[in-house]
Assembly symmetry: C2
Homo-oligomer: 341 residues x 2
DNA sequence: CCCTTTGCTGTAACCGGTTTCAAGCAAAGT
DNA sequence: ACTTTGCTTGAAACCGGTTACAGCAAAGGG
């Protein structure tokens, strides 16, 4: 474990100045071939690598980007989302040599400080915010600090912030229309958290489907959850206990859908037979579930990649006037958890 | 979006020197009450926060720790593991103001460079390595660079590296003995990846259980997978296609167990009735599965916390001679996927 | 042959903090 | 009145890079 070398020492060993070593390191021009060769030799000999923190200070670029994860209220399903998203964004970031700093927190105020330190401490060049809400306080921190932001989900209230999104309204509408056309009259909608921009859009889609097919929406059938298995399970149980059996369920996540199905099963109600359930996400084992789950697929991995691309573009191009965004289409995957009523 | 303030400007505005502002910021002594008050006032007025990169350079501490995730070969199950672990370690890290840098990569060599830059770029104070293998190359990078490492799983070949682990051998043994005592003779063991230290230990437990009860181990019944649903599913299918129906399955992850159960179901074989399946992990919805899964619980969240604690301890205490480690016990959770044969 | 241009290199300032050290000054001791 | 002590403060060096600028030698042009 020999001590870490500095550019100064390399310069001395190669008989040149720091400036020249720096030029060699960054492939700048203006270095004679023989000097370059000599410096490179010394660098290789001592397997020197520059200190990235010092470089960051000098360049005012850290090479890190922050991934701001909604604080832990939203549980497993958003976690599966998170994982896929992480894979996607990592893929493009480390292709370009960027590091990823993940901010999570257990409590609301720890989360607050964590965001602040990221915004103001100068430790990230840009951030991606997951699970954005309308007028999200977090965004203000970053914008005020002049840090580029890309949100996942359209950032309501921030008309100039870049984002990636999936066509939530469209996806929800297609799923709901599908259920309505199957003859279901009472479609229980287990939505995501209230205020979540994705929840808002999906609710819009649910309502539009009803309007398009000239049905009334019963407000009691719209319930907010947190994407979790438990929220799907509990919601259906609450309905069953009250003796109200919805003929179909549209859940805002596959896990919630699985929870709903489990609750039906426990009550002896056969899903895909007596009632229909549609999920959202198409997580990898949705098609292994019993029954295989009809669901709305969203390309999470691709969204991660695109978020990374947009952020990097913004970092390179500087702050152009135009908003960069991309909205991905969804796809209804019909399996066996749905049936004509 | 007013420009970021520096300590110099605050000093000027407060009519003092940088040094004094620094002392106030870090609650050092040797500042008169009134000066302190005045400086704090200016700091609050401009809501100044110090640049953490500069501080890092000066202190030779970055306040970041790296989480090195096995590259993406291992899929969803390790991902669930990853999420829980991440929650745990985040909890202790941001309680202490540390940031978490996650290193993943799509390809093996990107992964390599990602590790190197983390080891040598001076961007992290310490790292936690997930999914450690015997003689893991990654560890060498970090150790050579003098960066404290905590591994998850006992780091075979590195007798002085700190680690957290779960009693894999014990857990596997208890599960296997349980199955043997239920009268199962042919227990298919769907292990994790070959070379994984956890896989090695679990296989040891599987063998010990057989030895303790005076049974022979049939080598063909030990199969390596990658913790995924698919690996469980495919493995059982391969057996069934060949006409060999194991009377029980012990899988190294809950997802693999669920895959196995699904394969049995498709073949019309009732799990928890004709055959038994035991998983490993006790992921949150294991008890909602059909049938509810008998499994070996490991306290992943706690392991994350402990890994964080050990790493922070090591960072503070410097490099003491003793190895720090903690091995967590497992617990067999009996549900309905197992039955007397 | 002299002047300009070109190419290579080093000096020094800078990024924004922390810390050592010495100086200034008031209170206390003799 | 003079030294000692203790507290407060600022100047300057340092962390390890990047870069503007200037110097200098060799090459090119008239």
């Amino acid at each position: 474990m020999k001590r870490k070398m500095t550019i100064q020492e390399i310069a001395r060993l190669a008989g040149v100045s720091k400036a020249t070593v720096s030029r060699v390191l960054n492939n700048r021009g203006g270095v004679s071939p023989e000097t370059r060769r000599k410096v490179e030799e010394v660098i290789k000999l001592y397997s020197y690598t520059p200190n990235l923190v010092a470089r960051g200070l000098s360049l005012k670029k850290t090479g890190s980007i922050g991934l701001i994860v909604a604080h832990t209220a939203e549980r497993l399903s958003s976690h599966l989302f998170f994982i896929e998203f992480l894979r996607g964004i990592s893929a493009v970031l480390d292709e370009r040599g960027f590091r990823l700093i993940v901010a999570t927190a257990e409590s609301e105020d720890r989360y607050e400080t964590s965001c602040r330190s990221m915004a103001e401490g100068g430790v990230v060049d840009g951030v991606v915010v997951l699970g954005v809400r309308r007028n999200d306080k977090r965004l203000r921190h970053f914008l005020r600090a002049g840090i580029p932001v890309v949100t996942v989900g359209r950032p309501i209230g921030f008309p100039r912030v870049d984002y990636v999104d999936v066509d939530n309204a469209g996806g929800a509408r297609v799923a709901t229309e599908y259920l309505l056309r199957l003859g279901h009259e009472e479609i229980l909608f287990i939505n995501g958290p209230e205020g979540h921009t994705a929840s808002l859009a999906r609710e819009r889609g649910y309502r539009r489907a009803h309007r398009a097919l000239k049905r009334e929406v019963d407000g009691e059938l719209i319930v907010y959850g947190d994407f979790s298995f438990e929220s799907g399970y509990e919601t259906v149980r609450r309905f069953l206990v009250r003796g109200r059996v919805p003929s179909a369920v549209f859940a805002a996540s596959d896990l919630a859908a699985m929870g709903a199905i489990t609750a039906f099963k426990e009550a002896g109600i056969r899903v895909g037979n007596e009632v229909s359930v549609v999920g959202f996400d198409d997580i990898p084992y949705a098609h292994f579930f019993d029954p295989p789950l009809t669901t709305v697929r969203q390309p999470i991995y691709e969204m991660g990649k695109e978020a990374g691309r947009i952020l990097l573009l913004r970092l390179e191009e500087g702050t152009g006037p135009e908003r960069l965004y991309k909205v991905f289409p969804t796809q209804l995957i019909v399996r066996e958890s749905t049936i004509r009523s």
